[in-house]
Amino acid sequence: MTKTFIALIITSFINSSFSQNNTDDIIPYKRSFSIKKNELDKNEEKILIDNDTLYVNQSLHYNLSHLNSGSYSREKILTLYRSLVFHNSNEKTKNAVYLKQWNDDITICIDKKLPKQVIKDFKTFFSDINKYNIDNLNISFTNNIEKANFYIKTTSKIINEEDYKFDSEEVKDKSLLYGATYDLTTDKNNKFYNGILLVNPSQSNSESRLLRQLKQLFYSSLGNFCINSYIDESSLLYKNCTNLKTISQLDIDLLRIHYGIIYDQKISRGIFKKLIKQSKK
């Protein structure tokens, strides 16, 4: 009995010694250095420069509460979220998919060649997102392209006619990528800072289809989310989604999880799993 007790104490000690106590252990924080006079903390990382000393900023421990919220059950939505963000990849996959986020407010400029009603409905739909006060996500519109970092642009070039093989005309017509595509510029840290949604309105047989396509592709571009047929039909990520008038609670919850933190480093499926574990502590 005594031996068992001692063994338990040792195991417990080892576990606590090697467990990760804060998010810095999981995601190393990025350093900024500044000149501070009369610094007292001798352990702080510092760099000597001519006649001065640069001190590193203090690390900010992440608040992981966004991984614990949402109207759906926590486990269910996080499982869904991981499949949307990391697709089918993990660390062992050859081309691992990392979590991708915008690292800036999104300012959209829409080409005036698009039908007026489509522009109006698109703006109304996505302006509503701001009402939910999602941390680190702000979407606005501008008519001045010089102020934009996201451009919804029309083209007369046929998009994805030959690149994709569609089983039938009906499938082609329903496909999100027939007549539209998006391209996002990503930094080396998997953060977006510039994007283009290119659309050929002549490939759409109705304004309703065009609007649905723009809504779904733009929403998908917010995190390079995977569009699929297993998600709830209320989501813009549902492959055959109908033309929703307002954004669903599920889509808002997914954005809350996605933008709860702008991560300092690249986030793989494995690191995300550790963050979820950490959020339970």
């Binding site: 990025k30 350093r31 990382e45 760099i47 640069l54 800036d104 080396k188 953060k191």
Partner: protein, 288 residues
Amino acid sequence: MKLLPILLVFLFSINSHSQKHTTKKTYMKIGEYKKIHKTPLIRKDTLNFRYHKNDTMVLIENHIRPKGINVSYEYKDSTFLHYYKKVAFNHKSDSVNKNTKMKYWKDGIKIFFSSSVSKQTKKDLMSFAKSVASHIDSLSVSEVRKVENSNYIIYFSGDYEYESRLANRKTSDYLYWNKKNQIYKASKKLDPDRYFNEKLRLYEMKKYFITSLGYFKKIDDFSCESYFSNCYSKSKKITVLDIELLKYHYSYGICKGTDLETFEGLHKRSKETLKKHNIKVNFFHPYE
């Protein structure tokens, strides 16, 4: 070329004085001598041996020191050097390779812009580039009107193809360097459709300008404001540390174009010398 400034640190001079003239004799540690002289030492050499601090010194006959300047070793703390090495020695893969060499511009940078680049963007980039160069003693930047007078070209896809190696790419860049790791040509090509406004184009040009000053690696240690950071920031700026890293890269107080192993070895020896003997360590930079 690479060895010259390094080996000269270990050259040891003795002045023999007589009534009429002064003869300067130059000695080298026997270990260093054997590394660069393939012929074996002969009796005459051994007769001229000198002993200095437990080292055997070999007389270098008819040593003619090339023209150049002697510059004091620039001390930097280990934290600074840790980041400098990560930035300046841009390894081909994620693993550290001791043979990776740092790169630098020997001559002034002369930038040519294609006619597609707007006047305002040109003006803003030149202002940024000159402001950066003003902090660096041995770096100059100017704009040239003729492409043949340039060594740095900025253009858009759809323009004349100024760099054949970028012909199949819409957005990319290319740096050329010689055997001495001196950068002598740079090209930056941008896709004006992807970078659809002047703000985005200027951002890319500024980012590349800093990278191209030393084929620098963007690292994940620094906050996104730094130009040496691997991430975007709308508040990108040249930080105090960015300037220090650039100044050091172009400082005469370090050897240029060296590999990582040599760089680390030099710092180790120079720091030890400073610590043990508290004497000034010099680098010799020959003129070319």
